[in-house]
């Protein structure tokens, strides 16, 4: 048995304490492990992030992680479109913010499809790579944006997709990262 004042033992116990504290902080009462900030950062910033679907599913149960996500996008992203009613112009609905305008236009040739175009206010600005929509209940959808041409990117979605549902929801936030 090492003596009670053995420094190596004290260091090991301190490390275990630190791990326990970390586990406690990252584990909500229901036993599910919280999303680490580094994972949320990768979700918000890395188009190649492999675990995006899993993170999107877990964000709904983790309001703190959602706050971290919003904070990351506000600091590093291109635009945050807060909760707002989508304005309508004919069949086109749009959401605006200082950095970009998002428009949803139904397809004429495919009634079930909707074009989502994002136009940057400053066409020379660094274009976002990700479109993230977060609903009021924490539901999250995330998609890669196509390359911007002349400050505009356009994607096609099924009208029944989660992304269109969230983009059409006035209570949802839209993040361009």
């Amino acid at each position: 048995m090492p003596p009670a004042d053995d420094p190596v033992t004290g260091l090991a116990l301190a490390a275990i304490d630190a791990a326990a504290v970390s586990d406690h902080l990252l584990t909500p009462p229901d036993g599910r492990r919280r999303l680490a900030p580094s994972v949320i950062y990768a979700f918000a910033r890395d188009p190649e992030f492999a675990g995006a679907a899993d993170v999107a599913a877990r964000l709904a149960d983790d309001p703190a992680a959602l706050d971290i996500l919003r904070g990351i996008v506000r600091r590093t992203g291109a635009a945050v479109m807060p909760r707002q009613a989508a304005a309508s112009s004919g069949t086109t609905r749009e959401r605006r913010t200082g950095g970009a305008t998002l428009r949803m236009t139904p397809s004429r040739t495919r009634p079930g499809h909707i074009y989502v175009s994002i136009e940057l206010t400053d066409a020379t600005a660094r274009p976002p790579r990700l479109l993230i929509a977060v609903g009021g209940d924490g539901t999250c959808a995330r998609d890669l944006l196509p390359p911007f041409t002349d400050g505009i990117a356009q994607a096609v979605y099924e009208a029944s997709s989660d992304m269109i549902a969230l983009l059409s929801d006035p209570g949802a936030e839209v993040l361009l990262a």
Binding site: T105, R108, S117, Q154
Partner: protein, 352 residues
């Protein structure tokens, strides 16, 4: 004859399944097999369609289309020739969409880039594309490649222009729509613009002359002003000279409404200007030249030329000639504002 159009790719032919007009507010897109999947070449397709750079809108008059294809098409521009043929077939009513095939339809396989003058430019990997086509079973039809392509052999037609390709397919050559000429300006609008131009010219000329006369007035050169107005003669200058007093009358201060007091700074009796003291006029130091003058109020702007003391030894009570700005008038006004107005009124016949 109806046409089924295919894009030659190194992975085998890709069928153009449908072409439809979209809302011009959106960009043209090439989608995969009717799904909500836009191919990466969609932006290039939009540039290929939309005028003024694009070639499709020039003969269809529409700016946005959706084209569905049966398989992926990689980056490049070799899809342009089959896409153009497909649009021409749609215009001619011979395009066969997916699911509407019938016996006797002609399969067209094409690759090539198109410039603005509808010339077919060379593209790469033509032999590989032809090999991929040969590997696909039951692919009979017309094969079109650019004129300078290597590997073009029997059963493969090399074309230099879009017109030649369309002639081979018995498709009418699309006619470029005339550019919408700018609408001629309506007569009423032209009259209004001319009238505005005349008014602007009059105002400009009047402003220039009035500015010169105002400068004389501000500098107290009343005799020069009188002389300039008298020398104006007839015509345009004479009319302006007649107009000037009337315009001036608009700026006439109301009786008693434009008084101001000047502040004179005098040196002490036995001192210098460096020890000057501020006194409001009338001063207690008659007969002495002030060191400086400034207008009353909050502005400390000094008056550049202190006037000579009056013969009576009392500083004058100075009246502004104009309401705004008051500070300019007292500088060298040996003639009061009332005097100026009397003289102007007498000359111009302005009453009141």
């Amino acid at each position: 004859m109806r046409h089924r159009i295919h894009i030659l790719t190194t992975a085998g032919p890709v069928r153009i399944q449908s072409i439809g007009e979209e809302d011009p507010a959106v960009r043209s897109a090439i989608c995969l097999d009717g799904k909500a999947v836009a191919l990466p070449i969609s932006a290039a397709y939009d540039a290929f369609v939309r005028a003024p750079t694009g070639v499709i809108e020039r003969f269809t008059g529409h700016a946005a289309y959706r084209m569905d294809v049966s398989g992926p098409v990689e980056e490049g521009r070799s899809w342009q020739l089959p896409a153009f043929i497909a649009h021409a077939a749609v215009q001619a009513g011979t395009f066969v969409p997916a699911g509407a095939e019938a016996d006797g339809d002609c399969d067209v396989y094409a690759t090539g880039e198109i410039d603005r003058d509808w010339n077919v430019l060379g593209v790469g990997h033509v032999p590989e594309k032809l090999a991929a086509l040969a590997a696909a079973a039951g692919k009979d039809g017309t094969v079109l490649v650019p004129g300078d392509s290597k590997g073009a052999g029997p059963g493969v037609d090399a074309v230099e222009t879009v017109s030649a390709a369309l002639r081979m397919l018995d498709l009418p050559e699309p006619v470029a729509l005339p550019r919408t000429p700018p609408k001629p300006m309506r007569r009423g609008m032209a009259v209004v613009l001319v009238a505005v131009a005349v008014v602007v010219a009059i105002l400009f000329g009047a402003t220039a002359e009035f500015g010169r006369w105002n400068a004389l007035l501000r500098n107290g050169r009343l005799l020069d002003l009188e002389r300039s107005l008298a020398d104006a003669g007839g015509g345009w200058d004479g009319w302006l000279a007649e107009l000037y007093p009337r315009w001036l009358s608009l700026t006439r201060p109301s009786p008693g409404g434009a008084r101001t007091e000047a502040v004179a700074e005098y040196a002490p009796t036995d001192g210098t200007c460096a020890e000057k003291s501020r006194r409001s006029a009338p001063t207690r130091y008659p007969g002495r030249r002030p060191c400086a003058l400034s207008r009353s109020g909050s502005s400390p702007r000094p008056i550049r030329k202190p006037p000579a003391a009056s013969a009576s030894g009392r500083a004058r009570r100075i009246r502004c000639v104009r309401r705004v700005p008051c500070a300019a008038a007292p500088i060298r006004t040996a003639v009061s504002g009332a005097s100026i107005w009397t003289r102007r009124r007498r000359r111009a016949g302005v009453s009141g």
